[in-house]
Symmetry: none
Subunit: 216 residues, 4 copies
């Protein structure tokens, strides 16, 4: 249930991997520029470096390409995220570092994120669950780390607060990309990260309280 198979006519597994790599790379470039619907299969084939006939040796329908692309993006993001999160110590300090790391990763992949936000809807009812499942898994990675902090007494949050916190920080990572037209005019990435961390951990009043806790 974790990965939906996209059928290929070609048998050689290694070749399939290679050709799909070319295909996905070409497709991402194009999807970034013009979106899924405005990109033709021929353009994708050309961008991948082979003919339209060859393209269809490795997929069944155009939508398969979108699925492959989105699938690949998630895998990339998760891979990088996991790599980082395993070293997490379950302290607030370490959590902040991970969040900052994640924010920077997402900033690098902002174009891909945009594609996902805008084109995921075009996936069939069939493929969508697989994709959403991947996103849930990734949020889950953060949930685990936060839970550790709670277990270590560094944070005091119940199950539902943990989940929402994870969702929030997750979306804020993507937000840098999908609202760049607003954010990137005002903040540098590091500014953005600092400010978001502050808001995530202290909110707008917590922060006030922290400094002037006695005044109320």
């Amino acid at each position: 249930m974790d990965r939906r198979e996209v059928q290929a006519s070609v048998k050689d597994e290694r070749l399939v991997e290679k050709r799909r790599d070319q295909m996905i790379k070409g497709a991402i470039t194009l999807f970034k520029q013009k979106g899924f619907h405005r990109t033709t299969t021929r353009e994708i084939a050309r961008a991948a470096g082979f003919s339209i006939g060859t393209l269809y040796e490795y997929i069944r329908k155009k939508e398969d390409i979108l699925y492959l692309v989105v699938d690949r993006m998630y895998d990339q993001i998760r891979e990088r995220l996991q790599e980082d999160l395993v070293t997490n110590l379950g302290t607030v300090e370490s959590l902040k570092l991970s969040i900052a790391y994640y924010f920077r990763e997402m900033a690098e992949m902002q174009e891909e994120v945009l594609v996902m936000y805008q084109e995921a809807k075009s996936l069939s009812k069939d493929a969508l669950p697989y994709v959403l499942n991947k996103e849930i898994q990734m949020v889950g990675l953060f949930e685990n780390v936060i839970e550790n902090c709670v277990r270590n007494g560094e944070l005091d949050l119940d199950e539902k607060q943990i989940k929402l916190f994870a969702h929030n920080l997750f979306v804020e990572g993507q937000m840098w990309g999908f609202r760049r037209w607003a954010l990137q005019k005002v903040y540098t990435l590091e500014e953005y990260i600092d400010l978001q961390l502050e808001l995530l951990f202290y909110g707008v009043q917590g922060k006030v309280n922290q400094g002037t806790g006695g005044e109320r």
Copy 2:
């Protein structure tokens, strides 16, 4: 720079307004179901209650319809928002009420929000700025209210923090819709609002401080 003209062949302003109303209503229903690209102009005409020929008396290109739809959505949201925000007193309590109100409004318009997220990309380079400008204006409404709170000494935030806070709450309002596949399985809307308000105002650590304020 506030509104891009969509040219109509028909002169009677009142009629243009009426026909576009029908058109937009039909289009929204269809876009919700199948997205912009999968909806045909004929379908829109039929849903609007007139012929394809008539449709083209009131627009120039299919994209115009998308622009009109998105434009209308923003106007609706802003209208409701403004209506509420004018009564805002510039206190934290009143700000929280406004945010909760906004969250509920966005929950009601979640399908529209989804359409905007997924189809805005399809707007031409020409139309996009107008639309983004509207969103910036709406965020601005919240910025003003927050500024009032700061001016009243209820919050202690600088310009950049205000802006980011406004963006965050704005996105969190939309998030209930565009991440419903995850959130709406776990939270009721009111739960979601309560938890988000907590996180927005106290963060995850500010909250700790609040409860155990004495320990420091």
Copy 3:
């Protein structure tokens, strides 16, 4: 159950009739030359005198054209046949005249007959029954006339013999067309008709007996 509807987007019934007429005429010419599969929809549109887009305003799928063509052919044949058979008096003499008439008609439509024989298989499982039903009705016309002869004491045949006789003469009429590569080299049409009538009515031995009835 007598006629399968082929959906048209155009509403004007008279126009639909007219355009389909053009379409069928063009299609028959092409099908005669190259068969259904080798004929493209564009060729049919061009032969009909309009664009590919217009073609599809009057049908849904390419197969619809084949159905329309075959349907039309049967209607034409039946029309001519019925016109003649109503005047039939129920005598052997009159039956022979009708058969000869039918043979001549089929000779005139031999290309159409060929198309039917070769392309009917290409009709979907959905459309085929309608077409076969038409052929059965046409055979039925002859069955009735033969029955009249039997009732008048001019022929002595039971139900099953009548049916088979009808089928035989029916196929022999088509045979002049679908075996022309053999028959039309040896016989003139009138020769063919005379000889077939002889064989149909007297067989190869009946004829012998007739002349020399006493010898056995």
Copy 4:
């Protein structure tokens, strides 16, 4: 003029024979199911048990397969027919037995017959004569037997009558297959054979005379 060569790249005659055997068997199965046009060369290769590359080592074009198939069918039919007809004694009784035998053979091969009727048109102008020639030869086998009967004084027919009689009985044998949708609902095969023999030999009036021979 009796057999058209289909070029093979492979030299080993025995191998060519073997591979073509596999190919034809596979193709016949497929053509029966979906016709020539709807069957792909890949499917034929797979059904034959080898790769598409190998397939093209033994033919030049897809049409070659059709030719090979039809050629094979005719050979099969003729083989069985010849086997029987050589024993024919030149009497009416023996002729009837042969016809009945032929009818039964054709009933067994009805699917093949159907394929021939429907797909022969797809043969190029180049290959068609060879195929038609085979059919003429087969009709010729019957003509000979009938001629024997005439020579023996068992039948009184001139050249043209013999030829047409042969064609008729030949088509009636195929008819059981190509009109099965009508015939096989009404008659058993044996019934069909009996009735057709009656009609072939006595016609519809000759039969009358036979039964009431004394009345003249």
